[in-house]
Symmetry: C2
Amino acid sequence: MANDSIKIGVIGGGQLARMMVPPAIHLGLRISVLAEAAGMSAARAADAVGDYRDPETVYAFAETVDVITFDHEHVPGEILRELEARGKQVHPRPDALQFAQDKILMREKLEELGVPVPAWAKVADEAALQNFIDAHGGRAVVKTARGGYDGKGVRVVSEAAEVRDWFTALAEDARGGFLLVEELVDFVRELSQLVARRPSGEIRTWPVVETIQRDGVCAEVLAPAPVQHASTLDEAAEIGLKVAEGTGVTGVLAVEMFETRDGRVLVNELAMRPHNSGHFSIEGSVTSQFENHIRAVADLPLGDTSMTRPAAVMVNVLGGPSEGTMLARYQQALAEHPAAKVHSYDKQSRPGRKVGHVTVTGADLETVRAAAVAAAAVFE
Amino acid sequence: MANDSIKIGVIGGGQLARMMVPPAIHLGLRISVLAEAAGMSAARAADAVGDYRDPETVYAFAETVDVITFDHEHVPGEILRELEARGKQVHPRPDALQFAQDKILMREKLEELGVPVPAWAKVADEAALQNFIDAHGGRAVVKTARGGYDGKGVRVVSEAAEVRDWFTALAEDARGGFLLVEELVDFVRELSQLVARRPSGEIRTWPVVETIQRDGVCAEVLAPAPVQHASTLDEAAEIGLKVAEGTGVTGVLAVEMFETRDGRVLVNELAMRPHNSGHFSIEGSVTSQFENHIRAVADLPLGDTSMTRPAAVMVNVLGGPSEGTMLARYQQALAEHPAAKVHSYDKQSRPGRKVGHVTVTGADLETVRAAAVAAAAVFE
């Protein structure tokens, strides 16, 4: 890379790409985005529009930048390996990213690393699935190995026939394949550990946070996670480091975990990019997940991840006002909640859609949470 | 303005325009910049390039946005009045902006408002100037009424002949005019009060800060200003409010003041835009000057201006590394100063040029200042 400019290319034009732009502006790094369609959330930075599944589109975009990173995990690994073969920096590297792209590879890797996970199996047919269900209390969680997010590609079932459509689709796929089935974990809450890791191996972690999901979608994040058993948070942090080092991730990694009723911590999902559980860090941390992600992928030293104030709570705006964008409610929301940091992804409202979020920071988690919930509620 | 989008147009492509972009992205407001030249600091947002002194260029740019604001005060008032006549929102309005464009109008307005200023006069020839100098201790500060900034257009003189070139230039200008002469104030330090004001009249102020100048250019800002006499800071804050209301400014106003050895506060300069003395607010305040500026010009409610931590210190990077941009020193600077927030304006180094700044926040002003000075020094 030239000494007087580093240009980062982000594949995917959603809000994660959008939120990488402000720290790039402040640091004087150049950033451009390959968006799936015109008018997406990161349009401010979108210099190119095209299909990330088309190799030539991706190769042409890569020619215009120094390093490639991602807004999502859906770019096919073979395209990314070809980019590396052509000498392009790609972060996370495809050998790491596969563990976030394929949930079965992820489960196998986590077991290899000795990281606690729910009981699981890969199943190729209804009989195998039914055996697992019967052996684990009569209900289980079934997931497609690829393509799921925000509760999509996930079903809780008691009969194998409830995912017959997924088995049919697998049978029609020339690559064949398996579904992932997991025990239904009896958890008391969910935790997330964010980690940033550079190609050089330098690592920084943010405090473990508690995430509150509704209908399989992140609704609130409490940072730091309230202490119930100190050892649980320490264990969650250790798991985050172990996964970052074991997978060789570069950029930001989010490790989502269950805290079980009997005090165990089990890894649920991995994401190798900035993650909804880290949005609090824009105001809540000295260095946000977005800034450390771009520092990491540009192989620059990572910033301090301390909290700026003792507590930060982020509340997602899901759906948004009945028409238009969040802007339709700004007069009320900003007047009533001057201390709330309001983020709009400039998306049209749609039931359940993540159209923005609100973060409040302060001295006390309960006060801050009430303020963030109230401010976000103006947009519902 | 439509309910689902507000597009802000910024005239001028410098670092102030550049730093308006991140809060616009977070709030989901659209922003575009009319830059003087391609490749300027705000290039990320520069949708147009052209001369702001050319009326048709400005009118065409204004057609593409909902509201016009500024990176500098140099757009001719007659162009802005025509924009208003055409029904365009312009903030600050030309009737307010004139007090930041013309230092003689500014002095007259401040006197009318009863705001303390240094002894001054407008002088049309060397004889009048020499009379003022002789009556004020044999030395005085002479300023051109228009076009000065960062020490340019300002000379400390003891003989009127030292500004003969300026009088000659005035004589050649068909509009004629005056130079401004002021007593040389015996000050102990300089203060700045930032104020944001909406068209509706809503006002918010940040804490009064101390600014430290070197060679007429801002070098450091201490926020909040250390208390020497509490009444002095209160008076500075009152002056800020009086000037904001008295001039009818919309957007951010910076009032730069001298604190004199005998305990008075005198207004030195006004700026009607985000100002170098407010850069600390990006990390140091719940709502930065850049966010409240765009909220104000879009007539949205203003955000909380409280400090996020007890102290913030900003240190300018003046000149930059001997070649290239600040990026050439990022490996060292970011590794040694992980808690420093480094801002590069993506400008090539040049002696004395403002190419970026560093801000550190924390519990204690002295510690924070030492850290910010050390981090900025890596770029010298």
